[in-house]
Symmetry: C2
Subunit: 118 residues, 2 copies
Amino acid sequence: MGAISLARKLELVDELWSPRIVANLNDYHVKIAKVRGEFVVHSHEETDELFLVLRGELTLRLPTGDVLLREGELFVVPKGIAHQPVAAEEAHLLMIEPAGTLNTGDAGGPLTSPATPI
Amino acid sequence: MGAISLARKLELVDELWSPRIVANLNDYHVKIAKVRGEFVVHSHEETDELFLVLRGELTLRLPTGDVLLREGELFVVPKGIAHQPVAAEEAHLLMIEPAGTLNTGDAGGPLTSPATPI
């Protein structure tokens, strides 16, 4: 039981768009991911989803317009709102949401990746 | 509805040990705080508590020993576990816990500061 270094955990992540669990917070998972390119448009009907950019930049394409997140910036996508995460260059993310929330939400498809601990 | 810059929000915080809410995540609050010195030993009987150090260093004194958190490191204090946050120099924190969780938990006292939005 010790400090969890997000940078050191991220060094262990190879695959893109593959969230890995770094901590539990009650029934929530704290996850990290490396991303690059365009993810699938999806929504989570049951939960909000927190994105915090640890490195690089992430654009969240929302029905109301794009939200650009730079390093040290966060955004909570409200439940039920369609969003498409996009990153021109590799970006590193922290995400928090209830355990069991799938990365592709209602969209499913080949990018679906059940989060596992790291 | 846009990106939330943690650094810019922290510029607006004057008081130490006074958590401010920067976002809601379902029924959780995402909070920031500036801290320096020794906080009161306390526990939260109903919830885990996430600490992420954004700047500086934070020591969490736990019954099992100290956990030192440097910038970019996080720790989740399990519910019911006594902890004392300590920072020799000013440190900037991100904290996540259910709405209504008081900073002093079961200890109460003069440092109790209900979190308000910023």
